[in-house]
């Protein structure tokens, strides 16, 4: 029931400032122990109402609508990579690997489907680890580098091309997958045919296309959940872009607040004092009412909390 205060340097500093402020107030109030009656703060009230009217109207707080929201991993790369790898895996929930087939058709449209692949996560190569590796016995490989909110490593895609032996189109492809479909900066010269830059929106459309082929309830459920998860991620990604633009300035409420910090502090100080007086009155009133019920032997104590 009793919450432990969180401690930090800035919190301590705030406490110190408040105590100093209280000490100064005490000196003034020693002459007059009773607060002036309510009703003297009209200017403060106008100021506060003005400030409240300027309150930024942001989007509502996000609700936990997807599996990834509930697991608090909505924007984390690894859970997304795990989910994608599982959907691509022959042992995953999708019937006849339709997502893997669609991906293959997209990156290698001129090649025949080579059959059942192996899907692995976090596969090491010379100087790194590929997020997802889809490989076939015949030697064709699709390496997926999934980037969610993290920068591309120096020479990363080139490293995968070299490390997995993807020198020509028949060897395989590297898919650079990002929410926005960013261009790879690390693929190096002459690799345009070997690297496919793909957005999550494209992946979303692929899943929507394949869902028509899915017959099992299990496959439908997981494909729909995957769509919900990546749509949340994309929404967040667009929102972040908007925030980046808006960060250049201050809201009107922030400006008003910063212009009037002293006033704001004074209003709070008065509210602190009024709360104390109000509690003392509550103690006296409670004692009076409880004595009326329990009798004169009722004892009431009032202990200030700190």
């Amino acid at each position: 029931m009793v919450r432990q205060p969180a401690h930090s340097d800035s919190a301590d500093l705030q406490v110190l400032r408040r105590l100093l402020s209280l000490a100064r107030k005490d000196q003034v109030q020693a002459k007059s122990a009773v607060l002036s009656p309510p009703g003297n703060g009209e200017n403060d009230l106008i100021f506060l109402k003005k400030l409240l009217a300027l309150k930024p109207q942001g989007p509502p707080l996000p609700r936990q609508t997807t599996l990834f929201d509930a697991m608090l991993v909505r924007n984390q790369e690894n859970p997304h990579s795990d989910f994608i790898a599982w959907l691509l895996d022959p042992n995953g929930p999708l019937k006849e690997m339709w997502l893997t087939r669609l991906l293959f058709e997209h990156v290698a449209p001129d090649m025949p489907w080579p059959g059942t692949p192996t899907v692995e996560r976090e596969v090491p190569c010379d100087e790194g680890r590929a997020d997802i590796l889809i490989s076939w016995e015949e030697g064709f490989k699709i390496v997926i580098e999934n980037k969610v909110g993290s920068p591309e490593g120096k020479g990363q895609i080139r490293c995968y091309l070299d490390g997995f032996g993807i020198k020509e189109k028949q060897n395989g492809r590297v898919i650079f997958l990002t929410p926005q479909g960013r261009k790879s900066k690390s693929k190096g010269e002459g690799a345009d045919d070997l690297v496919v830059e793909m957005s999550y929106e494209h992946l979303e459309s692929m899943v929507l296309q394949g869902l028509r082929l899915e017959e099992s309830d299990r496959g439908k459920v997981f494909a729909h959940e995957f769509l919900a998860c990546i749509r949340q991620l994309l929404r967040r990604s667009r929102l972040m872009e908007k925030i980046e633009i808006e960060r250049a300035g201050f809201s009107e409420a922030s400006k008003e607040y910063m212009r009037n910090v002293d006033t704001f502090s004074a209003i709070k100080q008065r509210a602190i004092e009024e709360c104390g007086v109000f509690l003392q009155w509550m103690g006296i009133e409670a004692e009076k009412r409880l004595k009326a019920i329990l009798g004169i032997s009722c004892v009431a104590t009032y202990l200030p909390t700190a």
């Binding site: 709070k268 509550m282 409880l290 004892v299 009431a300 909390t305």
Partner: protein, 132 residues
Amino acid sequence: LIFAFLPSWATGDIQVGIAFLSDYNMKIATFGDEPDEHYVGILIRDGEGEYVKKSVAEPVKEKLSQSLREIWSHKTDMENCDCSGPLFRTFLIPSDGNFDGWAESIFDLMEELASKLGPALTAVATELNQVK
């Protein structure tokens, strides 16, 4: 903390009382800084209104819970209580700023506790004192 009690509600060094606890730092904050830390209930403290150790308070709380459960009709008040008391209700800070109404609802519950549970608190304390 407002802590009201009858001497007959004492057992050993423990004092049971009707309490209003506003759990915020009144030197640096207001009610609104801790909007959900205001409670009315039956509290177990020492004679000075200070905390008592869990090992001492817990058996008294259990005994009170058993007895009061049969009398108190607002069952949700008796859920999720820690060792500091068998019965609590939170009073959120009023969103419309009506603190007079807020205080009135707090007094109403304190009066209801006094009138409905007063005799039971005396009976429990007497029983515990006899066991000792």
